[in-house]
């Protein structure tokens, strides 16, 4: 068997990549992609834990599926927002959206 720690490491790496994408990318769509990466990394984590610790109980799987659904919904909403912003400002660069500053 592959040890659990490998899966966790993979999930952590993916998460960090996703985090870097969220924090460092200019394009808002790319930030959304980073968020998707983070969510998927969490999913990997969840499934790994389920498989290695409580394979009999199905709540691990359920949780993963719920996360998928939420991720999808959230991506849809996020994109809708970005489209709305683009229509307004002809740009999707996240740094330029600073209307809520002091």
């Amino acid at each position: 068997m592959i040890p659990l720690s490998w899966y966790l490491t993979l999930a952590a790496a993916l998460f960090c990549v996703g985090l870097y994408g969220v924090l460092a990318r200019k394009n808002a769509v790319a930030i959304l992609m980073g968020i998707e990466l983070m969510l998927n990394a969490v999913n990997i984590n969840l499934v790994a834990f389920w498989h290695y610790l409580t394979p009999a109980v199905s709540s691990g799987q359920m949780f993963a599926i719920v996360v998928f659904a939420v991720a999808a919904a959230e991506a849809a909403v996020g994109l809708a927002l970005i489209i709305s912003i683009y229509r307004r400002r002809q740009s999707v660069v996240a740094e330029e959206m600073d209307l809520m500053k002091w």
Binding site: L19, V22, L23, I31, E95, M97, D98, M100, K101
Partner: protein
Amino acid sequence: MQLDHDLLAQLTWLVPVPPLLAFFLIVLFTNRSKGLSHTVAVGMMALSWAVSWLVFFNVFRSENLGEDPIRGVVDWLPFGSAAVAGTGTLQMGVLVDPLTAVMLFFVSLTCLMIFVYSVGYSNWGKPRDPHDAPGNPPHGGIEPLYSRFFAFLSLFAFGMLTLVVADNVLLMFIGWEIMGLCSYLLIGFWYARKYEDPNQITPRQAGVKAFMTTRVGDVFMLLGIVYLYSQTGTLSFREILHSEEVLNHLAATPSYIAGLSVAGLAGLLLFAGTVGKSAQFPLHVWLPDAMEGPTPVSAMIHAATMVSAGVYAMVRLFPLLSAGWHHGEPLTPPMLALAVIGSFSALFAATIAVAQNDVKKVLAYSTISQLAYMIAALGIGAYVAAAFHLVTHAFFKALLFLGSGSVIHGVEHGMHHSTGEASPSAHAKDARGHDASPQQIDPQNMMNMGGLRKRMPVTFWTFLIGGFALSGFPLVTAGFWSKDAILGGAWEGGYVVVFVVLALSAFLTAFYTMRQISLTFLGEPRTKAAEHASESDPIFRTILFALVVLAFFAITAGWAGIPESFPGLGGLLPNWFHEFVGGTLLERPEAEAFNVVPLATSLVVALGGLLLGWLTYRNVPAGADDPLKAPLGPIHTLLKNKYYFDEMYAFAFVRPAIWLSETFVSAWVDRGVIDGTLHLVARTAIPIGNAFRNYFDAPVVNGSGDLVANIVKWFGRTFRVIQTGKVQQYLLVVMVIMLVLGAVLFVPGLGR
């Protein structure tokens, strides 16, 4: 009808009330309607008169009214507590003893007559002349302030009647002061009247002068009242004056002033009130100037009633003044003061009257002189004579004043008829403020009269009766009997100086009276106005009625007091007055034995004075000087100017008082010291306040508040920069904090 004493006491309470009611009714309700006002006033006075006469005629036959008078008392004011000595209840009440009864008789009648007279005198029935401004005497039209006049007269009548029926000194003093007020109001009735001559006193000034002068007397009187109260604990007449022990105690106790007993000091202080009120020397100066008031006022207040009140007070307080004295002993200090001031004033005023030309001024000085007679009589112990003269004098003096008013009105009518109403210069003014177009002259100056006997017969005969009564014309006039009584008392007591002075004054009285009558009524008219004078105008109806009634009493009143020992007539009628009024005192005075000397003196001076006056003045032509001017020379000027007393008082008292008030108090103390202190306080307080504001309030108090706000603002401004609006940055911060938190929570050893 015979009534019992309790009912009579109730009625006596009612005597002063109707005029007071009239005063309030007129002031509050009937002021607009002249007719209604005089109806109320005269009606109420008539009611008062009727009740007074009812009371009088019920008691005049009692022989012992003095021991058992009519009394009604109410508890007025409780003071102190039962445990403290000198406490009790102040009681007010009415008292009708013989003296009060005769006072009621003549006061109510004279007041009523004067009320009736005033209706005609104020030109009732004439239309209102638009040229007559209120506050000025009317020229033929009805008096503009008609209702006010009757209101004041009513208030005055209330004051006098209160004084008469009072049973204690305080209530008497209250009535006294009310009359003082009314005197001021009525003397200054024509308040807007001005004269061009600045030395001529205006009615307003005369009112103030009267009030001020009598005030001087009143202050001493009040001191006397307080002193009396402090020594006896009561002010009731019966308790002090009708009680042997109290009087003896007062006469025996020494007072603060060495040589004077309590009775003596109190008596002197109370006498000072009379000196002011009855215009005796040295407080006589106000009465001649009080003639600025309308003639009914002069008659009522300054002849028949108010000035008589001063003498009444002395008559009433005679037991106090004479405490410890009996006939034949030396006089007590108050009696001495009365005798001296009385005799002096009598002669003094009589000499001045000889040189006066204004018809009312002669009568004013005559009043001073006659009141002095009464006071001198009291001073030498002739109690009944003084009271008798008080009664008769009221009648004939009121008669004379009313007669002079009639004369003045008659001459004014003459002025109007001799110039014609439509003359354009009909309202120019002369020095005295009377119309000064040609033939407009001072209607009060006797030198402008003459021959009025034919033009105004009723006035002439009544005035003659009054004048003869004043002079003491034998047998048929009241004045003779009362004056004879006084002279008799002086002679019998052996007071030769008083006798001589009074006899001399009687001579001068007869002289100046006849002078007045001759100049006014006899001879030929000296001016056109006198030629056209008349008394046939309808306004004279009430005037002449009052004159006739008073003339009747001026003749007959004397017959109530014919001495028993008089040759021939004595004994035909009982000496009712002596018996009745004599009962007021504890010790009934004895009737004097007859002595021919006072009678002869009285006849000689009266008839001699009348004859001399007639001879000198019966034919004074128009424009001529006073026939007495040439022989007397500078003395005449002295007399005419009243011995310059007004000027002396102005210099000695009035100017310093004005200096004190205008300069010392007003400018120096009030504006300088008091205002100066206030300004100083203000001037120091303002810089202090400014300093507080600028150095404490603004920087410290405001500053600390502002500082707090500024700190908050600074924090806000400084830290808001973290809100950049960039989402990624926010997320970065979140990540950092999560790392820190994670470290603190999950690394063993870190954190607390």
